[in-house]
Amino acid sequence: MSVNVTLLVVMGVLFATGIYLLLERSLTRVLLGIILVGNGVNLLILAAGGPEGLAPIYSAGTPPGEYADPLPQALILTAIVITFAVTAFLLAMIYRSWVIARRDELTDDLEDRRVAEQDTFDFEEDSEVAVETSEFPEDADDDGALAREGVSRQQAAAREAGERLANDFRQASSEESAGTSNDQRNRKAR
């Protein structure tokens, strides 16, 4: 069986770009990734169907080998419809997410954050970004200053999160030293 190289290359490019986009945090890009990967699969099934041939409509006297295999085409049609439906749904969901949060990103999981706020979580040891222990948190929040230092936006966000945790922790421990019980802290976190 001869292999259609163009088909294979296009398929590879679709898969590669699609998977790259799927790994992004932005939901719109994830959607684009899904569309690309979906089309990559369709090409794969087409390639799996063997060499090209006549349209599979019966006419007397044509040897069966001359027809193209109709089954992969039927499969692709079904797959296209399914991808279409899922794309429409995802678009609606991304729009809804945008309406709610005004962000084209996956928001953090609340439960994860709650686990992070439990006692066993040591913010200094467990946080990925070194926590700024400056007495002047405004400095750390200053985007302009960070940009001058060449720190990317994501890092700044991560830093901000670390800072927030640190603040919570400080607040909590001061409450604790003032005789506040553990329970109330948990409730506060909730």
């Binding site: 799927l22 939901l27 994830v30 899904i34 990967v37 979906g38 699969v41 794969l44 099934i45 390639a47 799996a48 169907g49 089954l71 992969p72 499969l75 079904t78 797959a79 399914i82 439906a85 899922v86 749904f89 995802l90 969901m93 991304i94 809804r96 997410s97 709610i100 949060a101 996956l106 928001t107 999981d109 609340l110 439960e111 686990v115 329970d183 948990n186 409730r187 909730r190």
Partner: protein
């Protein structure tokens, strides 16, 4: 298809009835009462039909029906054997109870307008997808079944479009789509390698494929199904997404969706790739699934999240039985799947009731439930003990069968797995016992920040039956709800029915194990399935 029509000739109706019901329910979305009647009626009819199919499959073994009369293996075939028929009956029975529960909830809360009107049609489509996946005789139809049920589940999971649900929905949809893409790639490659997607046909033709290629196809299918079944490294999405949905939706997801993945794994493992090529890998995966899942469950304070983790953990038992590969273990796996669908679903329904009664599912904030509602306590206790595998419940019988399969195998890995399975069982018991101790046994006053609902009822002498008491208490989650019933009768009765069904699994364990044995035998022999589709002498 000559002569008298048999039950199996009506197999397509198991998919068609829910879909037609969904269409009708969608048209009737302005008439909630008619919509409820249509939905419940469609599911009742489906259940009756499927029970008939089960009886027929039990008596005559595997049978197939070719859609549109195309000769196999070219057309779409639906296959009914003992395993698929049993799964159909159990899944539809569970869906019906959950539907009645959801209807009870909807009627009690009066939320009959708004986007909830899409619930009934989406629910029926979900059932149709599940039925289609169980009946599918070819891989592509299995894929279509998966997609039908997944698309319906996307809608159900994000009902109402709140922040938490949209967040959970995004993870869920993206993960599901990726696993479906993987499945589709596997189908494409299998077609390239063999020129067919019919499972009975593949059973013969895959054996001629180069072993390396076989391995690739096998692993791809296992990974795709593993995501859907929530097997350990691929189960991260489940506890994040399930608990945010409304209680009945979570319940039906927990009961059915992962089991469809398990079903697909069992089907491909026995029919397409017999032999023990990947059994060692599957055993390791099963061990990790069980242990990691249950450790996750122990760390949770929220009952729904804890249940989601036990759900993934107990999938490990099914993979264990599958990996053991012996006839007895396979039979026990089939029994265990049926048991787990029912028990896990009842526990999620109970979680919904607990949320209504106590204002939250966070067990740290619950208390006194046993005193406030003894019925609820019983409804929790029976399936919880069942899940923990306490004799004489079905959980114990299923696990016993699985463990015996492991002992028969006797390899060192099998012994490690046995230890893991026993530990998981004990830890499950610990997890549910903790919920019992906190939510049911201790006094609400000892709970951390309990909802006023629990306290007011406790102080007021008798027990409250409606939200009237907290109507003017702003601190309560249910303030301003008027005299809505706390525990509507329909919800309690339907949960009770499901719990009873779980007990029935124990009472009728004998005949059920016979059925499971017969199903396992047919699957291990493979020829009954192949001959049912391709005719005697066809295929392998």
């Amino acid at each position: 298809m000559m002569g008298n029509p048999t039950a199996v000739d009506f197999a397509p109706l198991a998919v068609l009835l829910p879909i037609l019901g969904a269409a009708l329910a969608f048209v009737l979305r302005r008439h909630p009462r008619a919509q409820r009647i249509v939905t419940i009626g469609a599911l009742c009819l489906t259940l009756v039909l499927e029970s008939w199919m089960l009886v027929s499959a039990w008596q005559h073994g595997a049978q197939a029906v070719m859609i549109g009369g195309w000769a196999p293996p070219f057309g779409i075939s639906l296959v009914v054997d003992e395993f698929s028929a049993l799964m159909l009956v159990v899944s539809t029975a569970v869906s019906l109870t959950v539907l009645i529960y959801a209807t009870g909830q909807g009627m009690a809360d009066g939320d009959e307008d708004g986007p909830i009107s899409v619930f009934h049609p989406a629910y029926l489509i979900l059932v149709a997808g599940v039925s289609n996946a169980f009946l599918a005789g070819d891989l592509f139809n299995l894929y279509v079944g998966f997609e039908i049920l997944l698309t319906a589940s996307y809608v159900l999971l994000t009902l109402g479009g709140t922040t938490a649900r949209i967040r959970a929905g995004v993870t869920y949809v993206v993960v599901s789509v990726v696993s479906s893409v993987l499945f589709l790639v596997a189908i494409g490659m299998i077609y390239a390698a063999t020129g067919t997607v019919n499972m009975a046909d593949l059973a013969g033709k895959l054996a001629d494929v180069d072993p390396g290629t076989q391995m690739v196809l096998h692993v791809m299918l296992l990974v795709a199904f593993g995501v859907k079944a929530a097997v350990f490294p691929l189960s991260f999405w489940l506890p994040d997404s399930y608990p945010t949905a409304p209680a009945p939706v979570t319940a039906v997801f927990a009961g059915l969706l992962t089991k469809v993945g398990v079903y697909a794994m069992i089907r491909t493992e026995t029919l397409l790739f017999p032999g023990d090529r990947l059994h060692t890998a599957l055993m390791v995966v099963a061990l990790l699934t069980m242990v990691v899942g249950i450790l996750g469950a122990l760390a949770q304070a929220d009952f729904k999240r804890m249940l989601s983790f036990t759900l993934t953990s107990h999938i490990g038992y099914m993979v264990f039985g599958l990996a053991t590969g012996s006839l007895a273990a396979l039979a026990a796996t089939i029994y265990y799947v049926a048991h787990h669908i029912i028990v896990q679903t009842s526990l999620f329904l109970v979680a919904g009731l607990m949320e209504r009664r106590g204002g939250t599912t966070n067990v740290d904030r619950l208390g006194s439930l046993a005193k406030l509602s003894p019925v609820l306590a019983v409804l929790f206790f029976v399936p919880a003990m069942n899940l923990g595998g306490i004799p004489p419940f079905s959980g114990f019988l299923g696990k016993l069968g699985l463990l015996r399969g492991g002992v028969d195998l006797g390899t060192p890995l099998a012994w490690v797995l046995l230890a893991g399975a026993l530990a998981t069982s004990l830890l499950t018991l610990l997890a549910v016992a903790r919920v019992w101790n906190r939510a049911f046994w201790r006094r609400a006053e000892d709970a951390e920040d309990p909802d006023p609902l629990l306290l007011i009822a406790a102080d007021g002498g008798g027990t409250a039956t409606t939200y009237q008491h907290v109507h003017d208490v702003p601190a309560s989650r249910y303030s301003g709800r008027g005299d809505t019933a706390l525990l509507p009768r329909t919800m309690v009765y339907s949960t009770g029915a499901l719990v009873l069904l779980g007990v029935a699994l124990t009472v009728f364990a004998g005949p059920l194990f016979d059925l499971a044995d017969q199903a396992a035998q047919q699957m291990v022999q493979r020829t009954p399935y192949i001959e049912a589709v391709l005719g005697a002498g066809g295929g392998a």
